[in-house]
């Protein structure tokens, strides 16, 4: 009876994931504990992108990737896209999203589940934002490197 009951829990879990539901497993990490993603070389967007992996990445094993977007200057129409990643698949949370307003020091969070497919990979994040009659964008790189 107990085995059946536990099996049902996993069935529900799989079904929920199959329907697209993704939930963070625990409280989001503090901003100051998250690493700054590397911005692109050209003129970028005044937004800090921070990240933290939920666990050490392992080849072909899904791992949670917590993202936080912090505008350095208040803006609006904050849009986030996830271009094709290198040697990493984004299993969930990779749909583009937008936020009408981005307050300075306000934090926009996103949780991804990614799977490393090679020893060194990169998740990229394309962020754009409008400020005072201008629009800027930047591509941020998040290294997903397997531990040796």
């Amino acid at each position: 009876m107990k085995r059946t009951f536990i099996a049902n829990v996993w069935v529900y879990a799989l079904l929920l994931m199959g329907c697209g539901a993704v939930q963070s497993q625990s409280a989001p990490p503090a901003i100051e504990q998250m690493t700054l993603a590397q911005p692109s070389a050209k003129a970028s967007v005044p937004v800090d992108v921070r990240y933290q992996l939920r666990a050490a990445p392992t080849r072909d094993q899904p791992v949670g990737l917590e993202l936080a977007f912090v505008a350095r200057i208040p803006g609006h129409n904050l849009k986030v896209q996830f271009p094709r990643a290198e040697a990493v698949t984004i299993d969930s949370g990779g749909a583009p999203f937008a936020q009408q307003k981005a307050d300075a020091d306000g934090v926009v969070r996103r949780s991804l589940i990614v799977t490393p497919r090679a020893e060194r990979g990169t998740v990229r994040v394309l962020v754009s934002m409008d400020i005072e009659g201008t629009r800027s964008f930047g591509v941020f790189s998040i290294p997903i490197h397997l531990e040796r």
């Binding site: 009951f5 049902n8 829990v9 069935v11 529900y12 879990a13 079904l15 929920l16 199959g18 329907c19 700054l36 911005p39 692109s40 070389a41 050209k42 003129a43 970028s44 967007v45 005044p46 800090d48 350095r72 200057i73 896209q81 271009p83 094709r84 990229r124 394309l126 754009s128 400020i131 005072e132 009659g133 201008t134 629009r135 800027s136 964008f137 930047g138 591509v139």
Partner: protein, 794 residues
Amino acid sequence: MDLWTLARRVRGAGTLAIALLLVACGGGGSSPPEGPPTPPPPAPTVSLSSNVTTIEEGESVQLTWSSTNATSCEASGAWTGTLATSGTQTVGPLTVISNFIVTCTGAGGTGSNGILVQVLPPTPTVTLEANPIIVRDGQTSQLTWSTHAVVSCEAAASWSGPRPLSGTETVGPFTQAMQVPYFLDCTDATGNHIQDVVIIEARTGPNQPPVANAGADRTEGSAQHVELSTLGSRDDHVIVSSSWTQVAGPAVTLGAGTTQLNASFTAPVVTTDTLLTFALTVTDDEGATSAPDTVDITVLPIPPIVTISGNVQYERVPHGFPGSGLSYASQEFVNTADVLVEVLNATTQNVIASGTFPGEFHFDVPSVTDLRLRTTAVLSRQAPEPLPHWQISVRDLNASGTPLGDVYTFTGPVFSSGPGGRRDLQIPSGWSPTGQLVGPRSAAPFAILDALRPVLAHVRSSISPVPDLPPLLIDWSPTNVGADTFFQANRGGNSWIVLAGEADVDTDEYDPSVIRHEFGHFILHSVSRDDSIGGAHSIIDRVDMRVAVSEGFATAYGALVSHESTYLDSFGVGQRESGFFDVGSDIQTNEGWFTEASIQEVLWSLQDLDTLWTVINGPMRQADAVISPFVLFAAYRQQRPDQASTLDFLLQGEGIVGPTIEPYGSTEINNASSPNVLPVYTPISLGGAAVQVRSTDEFGVGNKLSTHRFLRLNVPATTNVRFRATAAAGRDPDMRVLRRGVPIGPIPTPANEDFSLVLQPGDYVLDVYDCGNADCNDNVTPGPVDITVSVTTN
């Protein structure tokens, strides 16, 4: 609710819950099966059409109908009666809008269809004609008129009085040479007037037949287009038609000429001089025909060498409105120039001619030979041409600057040089009008170079000093990573611009403002001095002043030379978005000497490229202070004292000190609302008291404002100087000694700094920073750090 609680609640009904979830996820069931039903008889269908659906009042229509599964049909609406199950019937005349319906009946019930015919009021017309229209010496002419949908007519001009709605009337005889107008004015039922007029031309004496003139005999080249002209033909009145016939030589096909009376043909390709003769007759407006005149056209053989000329054209993809990205639907071929063009023998692939041209290319090549045109993505101006010189090429490089292939080229299709002529070389973009990639992106390297032509035009016309620019490699390929666009000096011995090429993320080949921005960095580095430490930035970030002035200059310079203030940078899926700003608009966020937007706005507003060129070539290169907005604008103010008030006004508008500006910014009062920003330079004296400065991450890390702090040191005589920079335990204070922007002394260590240098007399800048804030030591957490600096003699 967590998963465990959910599981406990649904445990008793687990199967049902799973089924529901499956349904929600797209699974589903089906209805229980039943026995096969008896099909009902099919319902009749009816189709009905009309030969026209809009007619004029009084006209008829032809209706055609057909049906299926019907045994009888009935007309209703604008017509009535029993109909066959299919047929055609003319109905009319109709006077009002009419709805025709056909209803058919069968075992399965009834079906019907209808059609609406619009009936418009009649259009009134009047036609008045004269025959003959030209009369001579007492001849008469007969007027004939007819009308439609009018109620009365009145004659006027050379005749008068009421006239029936149609009729004929003889007028004349005409004995004097004159033009005689006849006017007929009719009125329709609503009072509208409709008119027609005819003018009879009366002439005296006999008609003189026309005289044909086929033009002077001449020579033409093989395969040339030849025009046969009636221009010299004459008549006492008007020539209305001509007839050209070939009377000698190999037959050619005569076609239309550039006028109704002319003719033309394509000369045959001949090996010896070949005579073609054509005869011309012309006819006047009274039907008199001329005697024939002939013209001899001698067709010459194609010479062994002929000239081909044309333009190099690349398919440019323009931007749509700001924010909308690239507009592939609007792409078009546009001329470019100054690139290397070569002519290849299509059989041997040997280059038989080459050159660069400021406009169209012209080559003397063998006639009737299969050739190909090739162009190379290089702009070059070298000795023996006078200065300025440059050498700019586009190719694919690896991350180390090593070429992965040759400089990009494009080779056109095989063509025959024939007798020479025009031949454009068109380079396609590889994108369809709907934004689909359908071929190689061949036009991209040439679009990149074309974006630089306004800059090079400025360099070419610049006032002294005229530069000898170092070679520049531009690295572009479709595999260049999105947003990875930058300028780098002295990489592998070359200056280097890398441009993004990643489709659906960021491509830069059709972003001229981005290309010119990076080239602005190249110009600053090549003819002046660029002390920028690089790094990530946006136009309104508060950044290190060296970064602010470098980026602001690069953007403003590109805008000034191209006279284009809108900066556009396409990105995103399908390149359907763009970053944008206007260089000239007053962006009020974070204004100050630490923001590149402020710098570019002032430079754009000054609209003074000549002085800017003088400043960057002279005073800026020689400045003891690091290159900053203070150095730039103080030098400008010195060069243009007549513009001082304008500059002060612009600087004050951007929150930068104006009237008292000097290279070290000692009078600046804009502290970005922080106690950790001013003074711009902290004075420090040799052998004097230690000085404390604060490096902070308050505005971000890396290249942001106040991660680096600056101290100003004067060394009056050659001295062995000891430098020390200390901070709290666990920090990593660094210090570079800069002489006119160039670091001297040792590479900083990961702890406190303590080193000695023998310095010549002069002004020095100490660049002091905490490596945790400056993003050069991952083991040190960013935060405010007080660094104590002392400078003593050894």
